[in-house]
Amino acid sequence: MGGDGQVLECRGLRKRFGDRVAVDGVGFQIAERETYGLLGPNGAGKTTTISMVCGLLERDEGEVLVEGRVVDTKAVDARAAIGYVPQEIAIYPDLTARENLRFFGKLYGLGGKDLEARVGEILEIVDLSDRADEKTERFSGGMQRRLNIGLGLLNRPRLLVLDEPTVGVDPQSRNAILASVERFRDQGMAVLYTTHYMEEAERLCDRVGIIDEGKLMAEGTRRELVSMVGQRDRVSLSATGDMESAVRVAGALEAVEQATRTEDGLELVVEDARKHLPAILTYVGEHAHVTAVEVTEPNLEAVFLHLTGKALRD
């Protein structure tokens, strides 16, 4: 384990391809039982970053430590702590699921009964036990994706790296994949998850790094990122009664930055609505009857737009 319980520590990663700087000074840490999301559009430098993290790509500058051990293209043993799930479905279609698992298991030094036991466990985890001896070319896309993830778990990794594992996946399989990532995190792994889907980052990640054009623009929890760029929650109240008084008392609250009357009630701009909503409802309720409340929290899409001037899917 690295310092302060960190499983992964990256510092100042830089990679240049010719004249193009693909990754420029990226650094972040991931602790055990933490999912860290690298959120950015296609071509932002996510895959290049994780290639350096996994020791697949030589870096020009910077350092990667996994459990305190340096990882690079020559660090053979340090890579044993990493589980890697590439963006592509990286399995052999002419081998069965069991043969795929056995092959990669052997490369991680497993053998004999240990190997067979682990293969069985993984087949259970990815729910492919009943299809274990079929060639994977006959599998559906979702089944292949599950096996793709299972292969990354063979070595009981301390750090699980998933590179956009839901690209091209149907909604049902996507949900299953996201649920499994949450399970892995809960089991104690540190998870590095790259995506350009804002919803996935918001659901899965304890902390998010926003990356664009090779630079880490900002990182933190979702709330930290939102507050970092000055975004506020929006609270819409449907109400009847003395609306003038309701607007006045709501606007007088310290947490409320702006209060305006709308056709069916009032709209408030609030810092941390979840925290202050009870007080707001108490004061407004003295003058009006509130029939509905809708809280809109600023999302990472808005943060990304604020930081880069472009949408995530650009």
């Binding site: 290639s51 590439p86 479905i89 990286a90 052999y92 081998l95 490369l107 991680y108």
Partner: protein
């Protein structure tokens, strides 16, 4: 090493499941060998070898007459008396004769005087077999003349400073006339140096197709890069070199099995005569390594597995044609025969031809060495460029 074996075993399992490897590695080359050998036998009707030689006798002496007599007595030789060297040269060059013998003026006199003589053989690069037989006949005769010279020199030595005694000269000629058994012996040797059509095509197809058979190894490295499994392999705790070693080992095994199966099957089923077993084994191993070197280097120039496959096929076809796997390249222009030596296929064919002709293990070592050189040099360059394939 364990990782390399695991990767090689996985690749072999995939090859076995992909039945096309049996087609490329064995069925097609064996089938073509069968078709070619049957077709050629039927076309020629009689497989007995014949040769036509021009003879320029500028000497007209008794020794020359003796040599001519030897040639005339050989039933597979047709002699075409020719007036001048230029004419003989033209006939040879035009392919109207297989080779030409030139007996220079004064040949009989200088031989009889113990000063030796030069018996010239003009060969046609388009008819290497005829050239080999002609050289063999001339060398056989020359070696007997040497022996006779010693005898004559001894006889003549007793009469030092005097012209050769007519009786002694007559004895010399008579002994020269008695050389046919030696010449016939050499004729047999020369004939046995020829590939039978079956052996030629078995060797040709084995050499031609081994370049396709081993190509899958390097192509699979590119294919694994495309599908992402290479990245997965490289994240595993193993040295990247083991991935390459594993794939090379699988290619080597498939290539070796392919060539060996063809050698054995063509010998037992088609009657091909390969010659010295150890020499054949060495050539087979060096051939597989050369094929691996060539295809590996070609693959490092490609961006995709499909591109690598196309490049490797083009190189294999051109190299196979130029290297004489479908027809004796020596039957083309001389420049082609020389050019063919830039291909490992030509060296392999040369080696197999020598072995089929009765060459010993030691005699085939130059061909083995040249073939291995291709494997080592080209494979080494490919290895140095391997990071272009393994890096993302």
């Amino acid at each position: 090493m364990r990782a390399a074996i695991t990767i090689a075993a996985k690749d072999l399992r995939q090859r076995i499941r992909d039945r096309s490897v049996f087609v490329i590695a064995f069925l097609v080359p064996f089938g073509l060998t069968l078709i070619f050998s049957l077709t050629l036998k039927n076309a020629s009707g009689d497989s007995k070898y014949t040769a036509t030689y021009a003879l320029v006798d500028q000497d007209g002496g008794q020794v020359a007459e003796a040599f001519t007599g030897i040639l005339t007595n050989l039933d597979f030789v047709t002699l075409k008396p020719t007036e001048s060297v230029a004419e003989a040269s033209n006939l040879t060059e035009d392919g109207k004769v297989d080779a030409a013998f030139v007996i220079p003026a004064g040949f009989s006199t200088t031989v009889a005087a113990g000063r030796g003589g030069e018996l010239r053989v003009l060969t046609n690069p388009n008819a290497s077999i005829g050239g080999i037989v002609a050289r063999s006949l001339a060398q056989s005769f020359a070696s007997d003349i040497d022996g006779i010279q010693v005898s004559v020199a001894t006889v003549l030595g007793e009469h030092s400073g005097t012209p050769p005694d007519a009786a002694a000269l007559q004895a010399l000629v008579e002994r020269a006339r008695q050389t046919p058994p030696t010449a016939v012996l050499d004729q047999n040797t020369a004939e046995s140096k020829l590939f039978s059509s079956t052996t030629f095509y078995a060797a040709g197809m084995a050499v031609f197709f081994v370049f396709f058979t081993v190509e899958f190894g390097v192509r699979s490295l590119l294919a694994e890069r495309e599908t992402g499994t290479l990245a997965r392999l490289l994240v595993a705790p193993l040295r990247p070199a083991w991935v390459i070693v594993g794939k090379a080992a699988a290619s080597f095994v498939v290539g070796l099995i392919s060539m060996t199966a063809l050698v054995v099957a063509s010998h037992f089923l088609l009657g091909a005569k390969w010659g010295n077993t150890l020499g054949v084994a060495l050539l087979v191993v060096s051939g597989v390594l050369a094929a691996m070197g060539v295809t590996a280097l070609v693959a490092t120039l490609a961006r995709t597995s499909a591109q690598a496959s196309s490049y490797a096929s083009a190189v294999a076809v051109v190299g196979g044609m130029l290297g004489g796997t479908f027809f004796p390249v020596s039957q083309g222009p001389a420049i082609l025969a020389n050019l063919s030596l830039i291909t490992p296929q030509a060296w392999l064919m040369r080696g197999f031809q020598e072995l089929a002709g009765g060459a010993s293990f030691g005699e085939v070592l130059p061909a083995v060495g040249a073939t291995l050189l291709f494997g080592v040099v080209l494979g080494g360059i490919a290895l140095a460029r391997a990071d272009r394939v393994t890096s993302r």
